[in-house]
């Protein structure tokens, strides 16, 4: 049942990251609070995608890469014009 152990560790890791992100919000890190929160959120998303959603295989990764590319264009072109 190593699969179960992997899921459990992933779950505990997600809860630890949640505690870290809430805890960090009580500490003033200057401008880095937002960056840290978003980095932790991205780490959680990657954990969920890899462990829970089994993001493997060419086609699913292609779909995720395409979505990511369009989001980069969306955010990039909006922010570059400001």
């Amino acid at each position: 049942m190593s699969e179960l152990r992997k899921l459990t560790f992933g779950y505990l890791g997600l809860l630890a990251l949640l505690a870290l992100t809430v805890g960090s919000s009580f500490v003033d890190l200057g401008g880095f609070n937002v960056a840290l929160n978003l980095a932790i959120a991205a780490a959680k998303a990657i954990l969920i995608a890899m462990l829970f959603m089994h993001l493997t295989g060419t086609l699913p990764r292609l779909a995720v890469a395409a979505a990511g590319l369009w989001l980069i264009i969306l955010f990039g072109l909006t922010l570059i014009g400001r």
Binding site: E3, L4, L7, T8, G10, Y11, L14, L15, L18, T21, V22, S25, F26, N33, V34, N37, L38, I40, A41, K44, A45, I48, A49, L51, F52, M53, G57, L59, P60, A63, V64, A66, A67, W70, L71, L74, F75, T78, L79, R82
Partner: protein, 211 residues
């Protein structure tokens, strides 16, 4: 019979792979929807940072944190359902799915309590409700709460959709072949985890900005 639901596929494995790809494409299109709203929030946050930070302090951090933990737990039970379905432990799979919907419902109840609190404090600029805000820059604080209700209610609608689909899946459980049970658990699981990921980003963006 090969055990596929559609005649287009030779084997259940091929059908599962097609399902999987289609779900990821669907998730990509959902990411566009939420991405656009996150972008609106980001631009507004850049322009009205102090007003947004002050308004964000009026949200309940304990309830938001609790709800994040609830949703992460529901993703864990959903992943367990997938694992159990792979081992064809159907009764346990149903229990894991039921636990997932119960946790999803718990999230919605807590969200409802939060909404009730915000409406009673006059912080809900929707449906013609009065907006009473004592802090600085009430105009942009109202914008923050407008975005907050838009984002969280859109997320809640997605969660309700997930709960309805899982409930329907459990209702049709007896009539489904083992291959189809597994396919459905995998597909709805991908959707559920995606809705969880959206919340994982919404929580720090809305609740933790410059606390």
């Amino acid at each position: 019979m090969s055990g596929t639901e559609s005649v287009a596929f030779d084997t259940p494995r091929r059908e599962r792979r097609a399902d999987n790809f289609a779900m990821w494409v669907f998730i990509g299109s959902e990411a566009m929807l939420f991405g656009a709203i996150f972008l609106v929030f980001l631009v507004a946050h850049i322009d009205f940072g102090p007003a947004f930070a002050a308004a964000s302090k009026h949200l309940s951090l304990p309830l938001g944190t609790f709800n994040t933990a609830v949703l992460i737990t529901s993703s864990f039970t959903m992943a367990s359902a997938h694992r159990l379905a792979l081992h064809r432990r159907w009764r346990a799979t149903i229990w894991a799915l039921a636990a997932t919907t119960a946790l999803g419902a718990c999230f919605l109840v807590v969200k409802g309590i939060e909404y009730g609190k915000e409406i009673s404090e006059g912080l809900a600029p929707l449906l013609g409700l009065p907006f009473r805000y004592a802090g600085p820059d009430p105009v942009h604080a109202e914008f923050f709460f407008g975005l907050y209700f838009t984002m969280t209610s859109l997320h809640a609608l997605h969660l309700i959709g997930g709960i309805v689909v899982i409930a329907g899946m459990i209702a049709l459980w007896r009539t489904a072949s083992p291959a189809n049970r597994l396919r459905r658990v995998v597909a709805v699981g991908l959707y559920w985890h995606f809705v969880d990921i959206i919340w994982v980003f919404m929580f720090p963006v809305l609740y933790l900005i410059n606390r």
